[in-house]
Every structure is written in C-alpha cells, then in structure tokens.
Symmetry: C2
Subunit: 200 residues, 2 copies
C-alpha cells in the first residue's frame, strides 16, 4: 500500500470522483427499515450507536426492548435520561427464565402495542425494536401483523430491528440489512465471562 | 416453532441448563481487545453502543476518531457532553479529501499519541479507536507499534478498534472479532442518500 506522492494523489483523486458520482446518484431520502441480525455481537449495540446519532441531532427516539429488559439497564439509564428518548423495557429476561409460553406471548403483545403506538404516532424520527427478531422467531407475534404496521409508518421514520434469526419476510421488506458474524469470541476460547460495559 | 406447553418447558429448561453450564465455565475477567471490521454497516455504531453501556455504568470512556473527525459530529455532541467521556477527533474527513499522504500520516500520528496516552494512563475503562483499521491499512501507523501499546495496557481496560480491513496481526491479537457483513444496502439499490441519524 505504500506509494509515491503522485500515484497516491491519483488514487485518492479517482476515489474522490467515484465517491462524488455515487453521492450524486443517491438523491432519495426516506425512513429506512433497518435490520441487524446474525449470531455475532453488535446487533443491539449498533442500534444504540445509531440512537446516539439521533439524539445527538436532537431528533426524537423511541426504544422498545422485547426480551432482555430485565438484564440490560446501562443503555436505558444513559439514553433514557435524554430529553428526546422514550424507553420501554419488556420481557422477564430471556425466554428460558420464564419457561411459560403464554406469559412470554402476553409480554411480547404488550411490547408490540407500545411499539406500534410509537411507530404510528408521528412523534419519532427513529424507533428501535431490540430483539424483536427473537419474538418473531418464536411466533410470539405474527410477522404479517408487524410488517403491516411498518408499512403504515410515517415516510421519514427509521425503524431498527435487532436479534438473531431475522425472518425472511422481514429481510425482504427491509431497506438495509447487516449480518453480524462472529469471527472470534472470548467466551468460548478463553472462558471470559460477560463483562460490564461490553455485554451489559 | 409452535409447541405444546410441556415440550416448550422442556426446551427452555434444556436451554437454561446449557446457558448456566457455559456461565459457570466462564469465570475470567479481563480487558478485551475488540475489533469490529467488515464492509457492512455497524462497526462504529456498535462501538458507540458499547460506549453507551460504559457511560451508563459510570465508567470512564476515551474515544479517538481517526478518519472521519470532520464528518461525524452527532455522537461527539452527545457522548462528549457526558462527564465521564473524553472525545478526541482527528482527521480531515476521509483521506481522499486531503490527497496528501504526508499530511494524513502526521494526522494519524497525532491521533495515535492521544490514543496511546489514554490507553496507558490507567484512567479509562474503555478506549474506542474509531477507524484505526483504515490508518493501519494505509500504513500511516505501524501495526507493531500499535500492538506494543495494546499489550502494555492496564489489565482491565477494554480497547475497541473499528474500520474495514482489520490487519491479520490485529485479528490474531484480538479477543473478540466481529465482521459486519452487508446483506442489503439502500444506497446501491434505491439511490438513498446518507441520512441524519443513520449515517451521521
């Protein structure tokens, strides 16, 4: 990658032109349906990183945490204290903690009612639905019902859905889908436990 | 995935046991070297999502943005206003904006000096080095010099490195590596432009 100054300048000039051409072609603005899935880390944290951008711009953010409400509180403590953020936590920890499908379905339904209200209200610029994919995978909610609400959202509202196992229908409907892929994980290889600031 | 209550309970019971077994085996705590790479979205936002957790716990965070300091300010505005966060932005936008390799190298060096100071100070629980991978790929900094500082960091300090093209040596040294893989992107398919709250 080391180059002389002239060829470096030619390379950066070409790259700049390519970038500007792409920029000129991209002239649409719209609320995006964004999905972070895959078995790697970073699905939820990437959503909260966008949430930080939204709040940094003074835009209004809604968050519904579907599954791990009982576990992850640091992001709620920090983001939830922002003036432009409404944060709803549902769920009694992971599903294996309740071992009761009916109770889980009722919790999912309650979370979805909050989510649908936020999405259709017109009050928000971004709504994050953390771990909704898990709820859909277990069929605690119907994907068709969820997609119907998404399709009726305000034109400029961004919706961010996280969790493993995003359903095919959701990926089809989405504008932006990222798979977080595990390359190396200290849990397995080094017996490192979940740590404050990283996992929760 | 629909099951009767009994088999649902057996399934969740098994899952709970597996989870608890893994938990018991994982008894180590250590500062992790975390790398978010790949050509998909979410590398920087996932780092800032962890940053939110760190700040939510009242832990101290350091951030050095190596490349896009001139572009992305929303996260700096929001996180940088937190009492426990030191935020340093370097870089004159992307490299193709300067078209001057010597200037880029000097900027990288200055950013790295701040980063090394934070890492070795003992004052932080997490240091985020945003887009350091790009700087390493262009050989604006030597990977050996960077790894040497990482290896001398306090035992409980988490370091998070983002950017495409993480060097092999960095991946080898890292504890936790995630590849963000693009599945679907609205830039290309729908000519959607970079939008407030999502890309910046």
């Amino acid at each position: 990658m080391k180059t002389d100054p002239e060829s470096h300048q030619r390379m950066t000039q070409r790259r700049k032109e390519g970038f500007e051409k792409k920029l000129a072609a991209a002239d649409q603005e719209k609320g995006l349906l964004i999905v972070n899935t895959g078995s790697g880390k970073g699905k939820t944290t990437a959503a909260f990183g966008m949430a930080v951008r939204v709040l940094g711009h003074g835009m209004k953010l809604g968050v519904v945490q579907f599954i791990k409400g009982a576990l992850h509180t640091a992001e709620r403590d920090f983001l939830g204290s922002a003036a432009h953020c409404d944060f709803v936590t549902m769920g009694d920890g992971y599903t294996w903690n309740t071992q009761d499908r009916d109770a889980d379905m009722a919790t999912a339904r309650k979370g979805w009612e909050s989510a649908a209200r936020m999405i259709l209200s017109g009050d928000y610029q971004m709504v994050v639905l953390d771990e909704l994919n898990i709820v859909l995978k277990y069929e605690y909610l119907s994907i068709d019902e969820v997609l119907d609400v998404f399709s009726r959202r305000p034109a400029m509202l961004h919706v961010v859905v996280t969790g493993r196992h995003a359903p095919d229908k959701l990926i089809e409907a989405a504008d932006l889908v990222t798979e977080m892929r595990l390359v190396k994980h200290p849990y397995r290889e080094q017996h490192v436990k979940a740590q404050r600031g990283v996992e929760f």
